[in-house]
């Protein structure tokens, strides 16, 4: 058989994602036509079609290289990125020039995903060994940015308005995942502590607080994973709470001028209505956008989210809220949740501790980013200036997110996810149960197979205790 069959579900889901994006594009075209604009722009069709085609190409590449593992990750990432693309197309006005090289980021991101999968899937031990290197690379990168960075709107950018600090995310994930294993010698701890504090200090110096929060949460969660002690999570949460409390009580005077920016953000978070034309303007506009969206939204292209400042990048969610409404946003949140849950499932199935930490790190960075961004838009937490993964307009952020997903897929490579056996209901549905479907689940789901493993219990709900005792090497079974 020329075409490997074990990524069939990915292909099917990708086709569904393609149809979904096409449906949204039709809505966008309809709204534009209603307002007297050009409905279908061939360039837009080319961009969207190219993206969907690229996803299928990626799928074919993954299938051809016989990558195994979770098949829903690529469709979910594709769905979210596609929605982000639509949002960008929707915001373009006739005046904005069509910038072809702006769209080069799409093949670049897909290539980054494929590349990181290809580079890491067979070489994860090398990656583990490169932990120290990653740490020092991160430090060097930061020093370079501090030296040559351009300050713009309170953030520091590299040459060409790129954000090289985004690269800190995969680097620090690899570094922390490699380092946080026990036991460690004292000198190692010392050097690592110095490295880590240097990175944090440089970030604070650039007032890149979003990254500080991400790194802090990443460290604590990896620590939590490697030690299994939940108190580290509590320490992190209470630390964040103390800082917030200090700022909400006007503690910036204690911390000096460095805390002015966070102080303003906390003020805008607590009461944006106090200063509706200044500090609270953006938050207030985001609330108006959500209000305008209501339950079912204005339809893609029907809203007026361009009234929200920074709606392309940090406040992309406000646009989704206005166009898709609460119901659409709930569905997009479900997509994020599905992605992250599958990410954590990959982590929990990876038997090697480093792989586990690596996967947890990749997913946690993305999840924290999502939560902080969405929380900022809906006023759950102060605005942190973090982009929304996959949806926000931002080349560096998109590339790095795709790299993290690539790492995640690489970790999941040797794991078997029998997509059909995970859904017993699906097998019962006669209409959908093609012969090919059951072929994959044969190892794990079918009664005979269960019996062979040695758990003669109910086939669809294996008795936990006995199964656990029986399966000494669960992952080797599928091979």
């Amino acid at each position: 058989m020329s075409r490997p069959a074990d990524r069939r579900h990915e292909g099917r889901w990708l086709r569904q994602v393609g149809w979904c994006l096409a449906a949204f594009y039709v809505a966008l075209a309809g709204h534009r036509w209603l307002r007297g604009g050009v409905a279908f722009d061939p360039r837009e069709v080319a961009v969207l079609g190219g993206f969907i085609g690229g996803l299928h190409l990626l799928h074919e590449a993954l299938a051809a290289t016989r990558l195994r593992g979770d098949q829903a990750v690529v469709p979910l990432v594709g769905l979210l990125t596609g929605l982000g693309l639509l949002m960008r197309l929707r915001l373009a006005t006739p005046e904005t020039a069509w910038n072809w090289h702006e769209w080069l980021i799409i093949p670049a991101a897909l290539a980054a995903l494929a590349g990181s999968v290809w580079a890491c899937r067979r070489h994860l031990t090398t990656v583990e060994a490169a932990g120290w290197l990653a740490g020092f690379l991160a430090l060097g990168l930061l020093l370079f940015v501090v030296r040559h960075g351009v300050s713009f709107r309170g953030a520091t950018f590299g040459p060409g308005r790129t954000t090289p600090t985004e690269l800190l995310k995969p680097l620090m994930v690899i570094c922390l995942a490699g380092f946080l294993k026990r036991p460690r010698a004292l000198w190692e701890l010392t050097i690592f502590g110095a490295l880590f504090s240097a990175v944090l200090l440089l970030l604070v110096k650039q007032s890149d607080l979003g990254m500080v929060v991400i790194l802090g949460a990443l460290t604590l969660s990896l620590w939590f994973v490697s030690t299994g002690q939940s108190r580290w999570l509590l320490v992190g949460l209470s630390g964040a709470a103390v800082v917030l409390l200090l700022l909400s009580m006007g503690g910036s005077s204690l911390l000096g001028s460095a805390a002015q920016r966070p102080q303003r953000r906390v003020d805008a978070w607590l009461d944006p209505w106090q200063d509706p034309h200044g500090n609270g303007y953006q938050t207030m506009q985001a609330v108006f956008a959500q209000r305008a969206g209501g339950l079912d939204g204005a339809g893609l292209g029907g809203g007026q989210a361009q009234l929200v400042p920074l709606v392309r990048s940090d406040f992309a969610w406000a646009e989704l809220a206005e166009d898709l409404g609460l119901m659409g946003c709930a569905l997009v949140l479900c997509a994020y949740l599905a992605l992250y849950r599958r990410g954590y499932r990959i982590a929990s199935l990876a038997e090697h501790p480093f792989r586990q930490r690596l996967a947890v790190g990749c997913v946690t960075v993305l999840a924290i980013q999502t939560l902080l961004n969405l929380g900022g838009v809906v006023r759950l937490v102060p605005i942190t200036g973090i982009t929304l993964p996959f949806i926000s307009h931002g080349g560096s952020s998109l590339l790095v997110s795709y790299c993290l997903i690539g790492l995640l897929l690489a970790v999941g490579d040797d794991l078997e996810f029998a997509e059909t056996s995970a859904r017993p209901g699906r097998r019962d549905g006669a209409a959908l149960a093609t012969p090919a479907d059951s072929e994959l689940g044969a190892g794990a789901g079918f009664d005979s197979a269960c019996g062979a493993i040695g758990a003669p219990g109910a086939p669809r709900r294996p008795a936990g205790g006995r199964r656990r005792g029986a399966s000494g090497a669960p992952h080797g079974r599928a091979d």
Binding site: W19, C20, A23, F24, G30, W33, L34, A72, F224, V225, G228, S230, L233, W273, P276, H277, M284, F288, Q290, R291, G293, G294, A298, G299, G302, Q304, L324, G325, L326, C329, A330, L331, V332, L333, C334, A335, L337, A338, Y340, R341, R342, Y344, R345, S348, L349, T364, G375, V378, L380, A418, A422, R423, A444, G445, I453, P462, R468, S471, P474, R477
Partner: protein, 520 residues
């Protein structure tokens, strides 16, 4: 196209749901060891975070009004002013369906156009990207704004004759009466309020000087704002004036409730009535007139309440008001809703527009001099023209005060019982005397076959000539409308205000309001 897009909106959401939901199921493969506890916690924390995000977003999307800050800033939403289609904001129409405000497409985009211009400017208000909203445009903004409506509401209106979502919002206004009032006020400074006493419907509410709400520019707005005559002020709702003698029906109602009758007689001497503990006598306008022209005036002599109301004898009501006491007077004022901030919009609407400023009443413990002046509507008593129209309406409606309302489809509010029906009918009889009596101050309102009951007032104030007032209702035997007319510094009510009231009543008669039949 609207329908197609609304349908497609739902289709898109359904497709998204169909794509996402199957992917949400994520079980561990059978046979895999259970996830470590530490890892299971992550999914839980992320799910919890997303749930919080969604809950908060639901608050902003569905009920942001619970936040007082949002309510204060809601008008800053520029979406309100960016009309992208003529269907984005409903038109306003009067009770007969005559359009009052419509959307027109101009080179500046889609703008609101007031068909009757400055004649209904204050009540309707304006809706302008630069100058914001006032009047009904602001108070009914939620009702008027249709730019965002759920897809199922759009689809539900498919096939219905006259889309209920884009049909005009009907007001209770009667355009003919309103225009007559605005034209009668032309050149004066003042206000006219006309109500239907049995329902509380606002038939006309005019304020002068007025402005053209369609030609607002930055320069003209600044000019309007700085004009000493305050053309932007809606005097019918926001102007507080001493009611003068038009307050005497309230005092009369208090007297009648305390056992005094229309026959209660008091001698009114020419030098006026001096309250105990005061050096300044309360005199009658005849005395002032005589002093000005040099004639002698022998005083009213002994008067009963009918004659006192007809001739507007200050001494009579001041003396009896003092005998009544501050507490009872204050109570009567409160019963008429003088101290209430009446809203023209239904209960529960959070709006600061179309809200009458609450009037003021004397304190029950005030000195007799203050109480005696309050009994004739001077001193501590301050009211808006709407309050006085409501006084006339309560008397006309047999003591039941119907709260004012402007929206034709709004449910009628519960009436307030101001006084018993016999007392109200007696007060109505007294007011009728002011028109029928040969010496009555409101005899300018005799309109042939239509019996009118009215009370004039000339409210003294320290800013200039007295404010001219007249309140009343017609027909007095079966009241169909109640009115209040105010002319700021207009002098005598019988000279300045009565002709305006007459013009309004003539317009109402032409519109069939005062005929024997039903509502026109």
């Amino acid at each position: 196209m609207d329908y197609a897009l609304a349908l497609w909106r739902l289709v898109c959401l359904a497709i998204l749901a169909l794509v996402v939901f199957p992917l949400l199921r994520c079980r561990r493969p059978a046979g895999a060891p259970p996830a470590p506890k530490s890892l299971a916690a992550f999914s839980g924390v992320v799910s919890l975070g997303f749930a919080l995000v969604l809950a908060l977003q639901a608050l902003w999307a569905l009920a942001p009004e619970v936040s007082s800050g949002y309510r204060a800033c809601a008008t800053l939403d520029r979406r309100t002013y960016r009309l992208r289609s003529p269907h984005d904001r409903r038109a306003l129409a009067d009770r007969a369906g005559t359009p009052l405000v419509v959307n027109v497409t101009s080179e500046a985009g889609i703008v609101r156009q007031h068909i009757f211009g400055s004649r209904i400017a204050h009540l309707l208000g304006y809706h302008h990207a630069r100058f914001g909203q006032t009047g009904a445009e602001a108070a009914c903004n939620t009702e008027l704004s249709t730019a965002r409506r759920p897809a199922w509401a759009i689809l539900g209106s498919l096939g219905q004759p006259g889309n209920p979502l884009t049909s005009p919002l009907r007001l209770t206004l009667d355009t003919a009466i309103q225009c007559a009032a605005a034209e009668a006020l032309n050149g004066r400074i003042g206000a006219v309020v006309v109500l239907a006493p049995t329902t509380g419907e606002v038939l006309a509410l005019a304020s002068a000087p007025s402005f053209d709400p369609d030609s607002l520019t930055q320069a003209s707005f600044r000019q309007l704002r700085d004009d000493a005559r305050r053309p932007l002020l809606n005097r019918a709702l926001a102007g507080l004036y001493p009611p003068g003698s038009t307050y005497k029906p309230v005092t009369a109602a208090a007297l009648l409730a305390q056992g005094y009758g229309p026959g209660t007689a008091v001698t009114v001497p020419p030098e006026g009535y001096t309250p105990p503990g005061d050096s300044q006598p309360i005199r009658d306008h005849e005395a002032s007139e005589a002093a000005r022209t040099g004639h002698a005036w022998a005083g009213h002599g002994r008067l009963d309440m009918r004659a006192a109301m007809a001739m507007s004898a200050n001494g009579y009501f001041a003396a009896l008001g003092n005998r009544l006491g501050g507490a009872a007077l204050c109570e009567a004022g409160r019963a008429f809703g003088i101290d209430r901030p009446w809203a023209l919009t239904p209960d529960g609407w959070q709006t600061d527009d179309l809200l009458a400023r609450p009037g003021t009443l004397p304190d029950p413990r005030d000195r007799p001099a203050v109480v005696a002046r309050a009994a004739i509507g001077q001193g501590r008593v301050l009211v808006t023209p709407l309050h006085m129209a409501l006084v006339a309406a309560a008397v006309a409606n047999h003591g039941q005060l119907m709260p004012p309302r402007l929206l034709l489809e709004a449910p009628a509010a519960q009436p307030l019982v101001v006084m018993t029906a016999p007392i109200a009918d007696k007060v109505a009889g007294l007011m009728r005397c002011a028109v029928t009596d040969p010496r009555g101050t409101a005899r300018g309102l005799r309109m042939g076959a239509i019996p009118v009951a009215a009370k004039t007032g000339s409210a003294e104030n320290d800013k200039g000539a007295p404010h001219a007032w007249v309140i009343g209702f017609a027909p007095s035997d079966r009241p169909r409308l109640a009115f209040a007319v105010l002319v700021e510094h207009g002098g005598a009510g019988s000279k300045a205000a009565v002709p305006i009231a007459r013009a309004v009543l003539e317009a109402a008669r032409r519109g069939g309001w005062l005929a024997a039949g039903g509502t026109p």
